[in-house]
């Protein structure tokens, strides 16, 4: 218990100013690595957790809590995003925590097929992010925290697709924050946001 409490304290210090969350034990990253190999996660999400496939997200460096929560939402069929709900069937909670620890520990990186920066769209995206305060929840460098995902350096078309799904009420997470954030935002603005974030 002492150790867990200490871990919470360290976490609290890391997100300076934030009241600390609950003490929690981390998953077993080595077990997660083996499980990811066994379940062929790399076929789609990339060998190092950086996806080379359109519409499949990179997982490397995502906050552990975010991956765990999304995997549970998939397993419980609360997030309907094929093929993941089927992929997640039969995974026990400690296995999910292990997978999360594994991917959270990998170094984030850009997709090799990333398009070059379009300065006008980049600047438009930056302005929108400022206006819609994306950096307050996702943190100013967009690396995410706890249940809030890393969105910097993610695949552009996946970001655009996610934002569209939130806006159109087709994706629900562990809360409805994102649905509200992008409520009524036009396609072109979502595309600019996705471009800006992918180019970070």
């Amino acid at each position: 218990m002492r150790r867990a409490v200490l871990a919470a304290a360290v976490l609290a210090a890391a997100c300076a100013g934030l009241p600390a969350g609950p003490a929690r034990a981390a998953g077993d990253a080595a077990q997660g690595k083996a499980l990811a190999a066994e379940r062929n996660c790399a076929t789609c999400h990339g060998a190092a957790g950086v996806s080379a496939t359109p519409n499949i997200p990179s997982l490397a460096g995502q906050p552990e809590d975010f991956i765990t929560l999304q995997m549970i939402l998939f397993r419980e069929r609360l997030r309907d995003a094929p093929p993941m709900p089927d992929m997640a069937q039969g995974l026990e909670d400690p296995q999910i925590e292990a997978l999360a620890a594994h991917y959270a520990g990998l170094a984030p990186g850009h997709a090799a097929d990333r398009a070059p920066r379009d300065e006008a769209r980049y600047q438009a995206g930056a302005a929108l992010s400022e206006k819609l305060r994306c950096g307050i929840c996702h943190l100013p460098d967009y690396r995410g925290r706890a249940q809030i995902p890393r969105i910097t350096g993610q695949r552009e078309e996946y970001l655009a697709q996610s934002l569209t799904q939130y806006r159109d009420g087709k994706r629900h997470g562990s809360d409805t924050n994102m649905n509200a954030v992008v409520y009524g935002v036009p396609d072109a603005d979502l595309a600019a946001l996705a471009h800006y974030l992918a180019q970070q």
């Binding site: 218990m1 867990a4 409490v5 919470a8 304290a9 609290a12 997100c15 100013g17 934030l18 009241p19 600390a20 969350g21 609950p22 003490a23 929690r24 034990a25 809590d65 765990t68 929560l69 549970i72 939402l73 419980e76 069929r77 609360l78 909670d93 400690p94 999910i96 925590e97 305060r133 307050i136 929840c137 706890a146 249940q147 806006r167 159109d168 009420g169 087709k170 562990s174 809360d175 409805t176 924050n177 649905n179 509200a180 954030v181 409520y183 009524g184």
Partner: protein, 396 residues
């Protein structure tokens, strides 16, 4: 209309009550510009099993003579509790979408998931062999449930009869049967602070168990996730969550009692009977009913029950236990405990600490969410964060 547009319309409906303002996340709504960069945000849920040796039961503090032990565990998101006629403990959840059933088998508590994939099935109640489950805009009845826990089958769908609003924000339910045989529940305000239709939101309601006979019991109640009828007077007591972003120390959450059917407790104009809302003007606190007691700022006072057992000391009889889930909209955490509220001969309410120990500095170790008395007079406390239920007993 294309399906996408339809979905949009559905989303926009959920913000309709926020009048013409740009929609913002419900919890952020009402946050002043001066606090736009505040890092405060709702705590993340934990949806995985917490191993029993990591439960904080050893850290719980109680008055002398009381003892806490783990009653059941391995049930992520465990929230509201109801006990069946044959002793089955039913447990609702929010994010994970499940309903659990806990039974004693071979000297051990066995946990089953009897329903899943629901949208926030927080409200549960038991009557005449049937389990009632309320999710967001969904009401289900599992008849004869205790005889078929392994295969509950398809429940009776009462959704159309109840005709609840579809909003998710504050749309999860607390539900309990009254001495009149009616089903009591709340419909919260679909926002932090907003003008509401006073026949649709921020209400306490009662229905016949089949969903007919809807009646407004109280108005102007922001969101009550705990209600119980006094065992002697039969009056309805309820907890109410105060608004956010109006101060670290105010408004406080409250405990109210309905003296007259249909009375108004002030939301969104007046909080805790005395605080005029900084934004919502036009009606005065003097127009509204005041609460019986304040329960602390941002403490998230949720599940409550009266204690009617014989196990605890005599002064506990007919007092209330209230689970305080704990704050997010406050720099220094508050709540994260269970308090007891006693009533004197004049009906004056007083709060006493009961179960504590879940705050370690400003970090929390668990989140008490509901309380439930067992037939032997012991008290169960659900911990949503740890997915566990603790049993509190007393020995002289």
């Amino acid at each position: 209309m294309k399906p996408g547009l339809l979905a949009l319309a559905a989303v926009s409906l959920s913000f309709a009550a926020a009048a013409q303002q740009a929609p913002v996340p419900g919890w952020q709504q009402g946050r002043p510009e001066s606090q736009a960069a505040s890092p405060l945000a709702p705590n993340a849920p934990k949806l995985t099993v917490t191993p029993v040796d990591q439960l904080p039961v050893g850290r719980l503090t109680l008055p002398a003579g009381f003892k806490a032990e783990v009653h059941a565990h391995g049930m992520p998101g465990a929230r509201m509790m109801a006990v069946g006629a044959n002793g089955t403990l039913f447990v609702g959840t929010r994010t994970i979408g499940r309903v659990y059933a806990v039974t004693m088998e071979g000297g051990q508590q066995k946990v089953r998931t009897i329903a899943s994939g629901l949208t926030q099935p927080n409200g549960i109640a038991f009557r005449d062999g049937a389990l009632y489950v309320v999710a967001i805009n969904k009401v289900l009845r599992f008849d004869g449930i205790e005889g078929k826990l392994d295969a509950p089958g398809t429940p009776v769908d009462l959704t159309a009869a109840f005709a609840l609003p579809p909003e998710e924000h504050h749309g999860w339910k607390f539900m309990t049967f009254g001495p009149d045989g009616k089903l009591y529940m709340q419909v919260g305000a679909p926002c932090n602070i907003c003008l509401v239709d006073e026949n649709r939101h921020a209400l306490l309601l009662r229905y016949n168990p089949d969903g007919t006979g809807r009646e407004v019991v109280a108005r102007g109640v922001r969101n009550s996730v705990g209600m119980a009828h006094h065992p002697v007077t039969g009056q309805l007591w309820f907890t109410n969550n105060g608004r956010d972003w109006a101060g670290e120390d105010e408004p406080e959450d409250t405990l109210g009692v309905v003296q007259k059917v249909g009375e108004h407790f002030g939301f969104p104009f007046c909080h805790m009977g005395s605080m005029q809302d900084p934004e919502m003007k036009g009606r005065e606190c003097s127009e509204f009913s005041a609460p019986a007691l304040r329960l602390g700022p941002h403490t998230a006072a949720l599940g409550m029950r009266f204690y009617t057992g014989d196990m605890f000391p005599a002064e506990y009889k007919n007092s209330m236990f209230i689970a305080r889930h704990g704050s997010w909209n406050r720099t220094q955490r508050s709540g994260y405990d269970v308090v007891r509220v006693s009533l004197d001969a004049q009906g004056k309410a007083t709060m006493h600490p009961f179960l504590g120990g879940l705050l370690d500095g400003n970090a929390f170790l668990g989140r008490p969410t509901d309380v439930q008395q067992l037939p032997d007079g012991s008290l169960l406390v659900s911990d949503e964060q740890m997915g566990a239920i603790y049993r509190i007993s007393y020995a002289r």
